[in-house]
């Protein structure tokens, strides 16, 4: 199914967003959403995506994406343990633990 509607308007690619889209993106984001909520988001996001479409005005051929303004490579360090034995701290804020493990609903039958 082609979810995206791409319209050619005055030579500029216009993206438009539908409710099916919003429901799909909500699913990908793992956010439960009623049809009514999805409907509200659809209008808002459609307006917003319209604003974002402005970028299509500019030619960016041969422009390298800027991922981070911090220059240089990711620094590496020796693979040594710097702390540890913090199991209790790690699970402290969990809503459900048992024997220092996180508890989740059964995943494998």
């Amino acid at each position: 199914m082609n979810l995206l509607l791409v319209k050619q308007l005055g030579g500029v690619l216009m993206t438009s967003i539908s409710m099916v889209h919003v429901k799909k993106v909500a699913k990908l984001s793992r956010i439960r959403m009623s049809d009514e909520q999805a409907q509200n988001f659809t209008k808002e996001l459609d307006n917003l995506i319209g604003v974002l479409d402005k970028l299509h005005e500019i030619n960016t051929d041969n422009v390298q994406p800027l991922v981070s303004v911090s220059d240089g490579q990711t620094p590496l360090r020796e693979d040594v343990v710097t702390d540890g034995n913090k199991i209790k701290d790690v699970v402290l804020n969990s809503p459900d633990t048992k024997y220092d493990y996180f508890v989740v609903p059964k995943v494998v039958e």
Binding site: L48, K54, R77, P105
Partner: protein, 490 residues
Amino acid sequence: MADLNKLSIKEALSGLLSKEFSAVELVQDHLDSMEKHRGLNTYVFPTPELALKLADESDRRIAKNLALPLDGIPVGVKDLYCTNGIRTTSCSNILKDFIPKYESTVTTNLFAAGAIMLGKTNMDEFAMGSSNLTSCFGHVVNPWKRSNSEDEVVPGGSSGGSAACVAANLGMASLGSDTGGSVRQPASFCGIVGIKPSYGRCSRFGMIAFASSLDQAAVFAKNVEDSALVLSSIMGHDPKDSTSSKAIIPDFSSCFKDGDLRGLRVGIPKEYLENLHDDISKMMKNSICNLKELGAEIIDISLPHTKYALPTYYIIAPAEASSNLARYDGVRYGLRVSEDGDSLDDLYEKTREIGFGQEVKRRILIGTFVLSSEHYEDTYLKAQRVRRLIANDFNNVFDKIDVILTPTTSSEAFGIKDVLTPVQMYMNDVFTIPASLAGLPCLSIPGALSRSGLPLGIQLIANNFDELTLLRVAHKLEKSINFTAKPKGY
């Protein structure tokens, strides 16, 4: 002693060291004011007992002539800095009961310099907002009001609580964070100084992440010199944040010596002057006059990709947010919503439905949309390419100028009851976002009062890692503007 909370940090340090008053008295004075002005909703988690205990320790050090650089100075801390053993929520329901077991590097540094936290301050949920209306603890009220009106106005956001607490003398300074303008815009709305250093100056370890390539710790203070005192205590490399810079931390004290600005070149970008409100236009003209009187040379410049900064930001920031906020899954920490018989996916979906507010959901949806395989190249990658063009605009002009002057915001603070669409709300950051995308150091200082009696900010942007020039110019301009208005009743 009354009114100690109205002092600047510099004045308070002098009073503490000469034993005119104690840190306990200074802290108590702030705590009393916090209690009196609870209606502003600046602090979501005050920590009075801890503050008084630490103030007592400060007094002991001062008595032994072992005072630290900020010993006894009471500050507010935005609720996205993890504080060991003290509730930290980013003002989201999904983290409402989260108690970190570690301390952020920035707060570690600030407290090691002797500053005393009065409490955690209110903010837009996960730092997403320009009004402080999206906090799960309710909105913050700006201590300023329009003349002849009792209507409440917003403090700006996302660091609204941190800004309002300094404006209302409920903290001598405060920590905020600035991703696209979250310190400069509220500083402008609240009539105080807000400074964001270059990306990489401060460690992001222990700051609850919003958009990692943009997030940077930032400071509110009553004047430029105070902001530098706090900023210099929180900067520095941290092995726990690979993007934190190893550059030498400059000594800011040289910025505050007497003198003028002869030889300094100030760029005025024409793209920031289009369709300005009369009040803001007038403020710009006056500031330019002030700079000329100080001997600075004014140079017209162009940053041609400015109009693309807002759409670029509203692709990149939500994309990074949707990835960063994937961690809130109801398993390891934070809220969990599930019923018997629910699958793991049900648990995720219900937890995130209930746990996140509307604006956070909106941004996660946009972010997931632009990162989805069908749209990635057309939106996210495109925005990263445009981000380079925006950064290049700045690189190109910093050959011929030393600092850029612009308005901080395109309007004064709006009313709490004003209804803005998401796009109108995002327009608040139109002047602050470009420097964020380029990672540049920048600040807002009060520039004027609008005709309705609300403060308006002037923004200065310097070249990468040139906080020295930024602070030197800001200090001189601040003296020259001599903005003395204060909100009434604080």
